[in-house]
Amino acid sequence: MIQILSLLMSVSLVSFIEYILPPILYIIVFPGLIVVLLMLFFMIWLERKVAAKTQLRFGPLYVSKRFGGVIQTVADLIRFSFQEFIIPAGADVFAYIQAPGLLMAFGLLPLIFIPVGPYYANIFPANYSLLIVVPLIIITPIYVILLGWASDNKFSFVGSMREAFLVISYEIPLILSILSMILLYGSVNAINGVSFQIGRGIPGIVLNPIAAFLFLVVMIRTTGRFPFEISEAESEVVMGPYTEYSALFFGIGMSLPYIELYSFSLLFSVLFLGGWWPIVPSAAAASGVVGGLLLPGLVVFIKALIVMAFLVFLRAVYPRYRIDQAITVGWDQAVYLGFAAVALSMALVWSGLV
């Protein structure tokens, strides 16, 4: 106890700003929890609003009418918080309660390993960031199966099995897509990837459009956007894995795809959209929190927002695929496309064009 106190005493203001504040900032504020929450509010509202505009109607309007109903989602959150939380009679209570928490945790974890600025390397070890992000993203189906199984509902179980089938079928394309970018950038460190793109002046989406397209498709699939909103297909399996959940736990289930969408979009803008380009911090600025983390992070965030806005807009255009069609695409065409992406990267590296 005394040791800790003395340690705290010895911490000067400078070292606080330099060593302790950035990780807190990173995890709690941006791109961590607070921005995730704000992003959730905004994104769900945007999705409803964009869909409504296409569909000849107004969308959320009456909560804060002057601002187009932008705090409708906050009102929904309040409603969810005061709803009764029901545990079904046949449910495995322990698993039923812990599964959404685990899902949420594994949905949020990848955010820590996605660098949104060169300063990131000073906070966390960034050398293997891509290698860590990929397994964290694709581990979620285990908990979705747990969710569906614990609910003791056939529709939940069918929905969670669908989710697992789909995520597994899109694992290989995802890995191949990221692998081709790793080959291209010559590093599993995402910061090096961004420096590569900024150094050449060409974003990854131009260097390897096949990988970018593939990543986009996997992103749509994994986050359950249309036309791949299959595991929660309302007219088929009610609400998929979340059928039996109510109150805040249902809110978790509803917001999880958006959180996944957020981490995917950040990764997409880092890997394919040139990261924090056009802000290129100098070596001196990169060592500061503002110049090395916040400003570049803002750029990455805006790019990610645009990607997310496009993906949520797809709801207004597409119906959903059937599960076997989606799985076939995942195991078949998408894998070939993945090999083509890898081959393209190898060809680019080999020929020395980049």
């Binding site: 000849l56 107004f58 255009v317």
Partner: protein, 184 residues
């Protein structure tokens, strides 16, 4: 537009382009109901009332009423004269206007009011638009005045009270456009 051969890429591009077209130029057809309400056409079948002076108490409206929403009440007027008058149960009425049309003396006064709200079940049952007590309290008879105006005045419990009145206009591009007649 019907035919099976389709270019997939063109199909995706067309679908996305159509979506963007409506996103850029939203063609909203919603009527923001409590804030705006429609000025309905003259023949709209809304609430109606019986003109007491014209009614002859023939019971035809009661006979023809499909949901049996009308029942004839035996009333005594100020002069001690007995007469039958229809009592309308708005909870049953389906607004088919069979009663209005079958009336041999055209004693029904119609209105375009369709969104009157009731607080309780007992308010459904009215004579001349005035709520009756349930069970029927014959001692509290309404005085025979023209109730017609009461339907046209916006009642305090009317959901569309104070709303902007709009007129629907057909439009070649937008289907229906709601216009504010009061505004230029």
């Amino acid at each position: 537009m019907t035919g099976r051969k389709n270019n997939r890429i063109k199909g995706h591009v067309d679908a996305l382009a159509t979506g963007f077209k409506y996103l850029a130029e939203p063609n909203r057809m919603t009527l923001n109901y409590p804030d705006e309400s429609m000025n309905l056409k003259d023949n709209y079948r809304g609430f109606f009332a019986v003109k007491d002076k014209t009614c002859i108490g023939c019971s035809l409206c009661e006979i023809v009423c499909p949901p049996k929403a009308i029942s004839m009440l035996d009333l005594t007027d100020a002069g001690g004269k007995k007469k039958k008058r229809p009592m309308i149960d708005w909870g049953l009425c389906i607004f088919c206007y069979f009663c209005v049309d079958i009336c041999p003396t055209d004693a029904f006064q119609t209105s375009q009011v369709h969104d009157k709200a009731f607080y309780s079940e007992t308010e459904y049952q009215t004579v001349h638009g005035e709520p009756m007590q349930y069970p029927y309290d014959y001692s509290k008879r309404p005085d025979y005045k023209e109730i017609y105006e009461s339907f046209h005045d916006v009642a305090p419990d009317d959901p569309s009270a104070g709303s902007k009145k709009v007129v629907p206009k057909f439009d070649k591009k937008r289907g229906i456009k709601y216009e504010h007649p009061g505004q230029p």
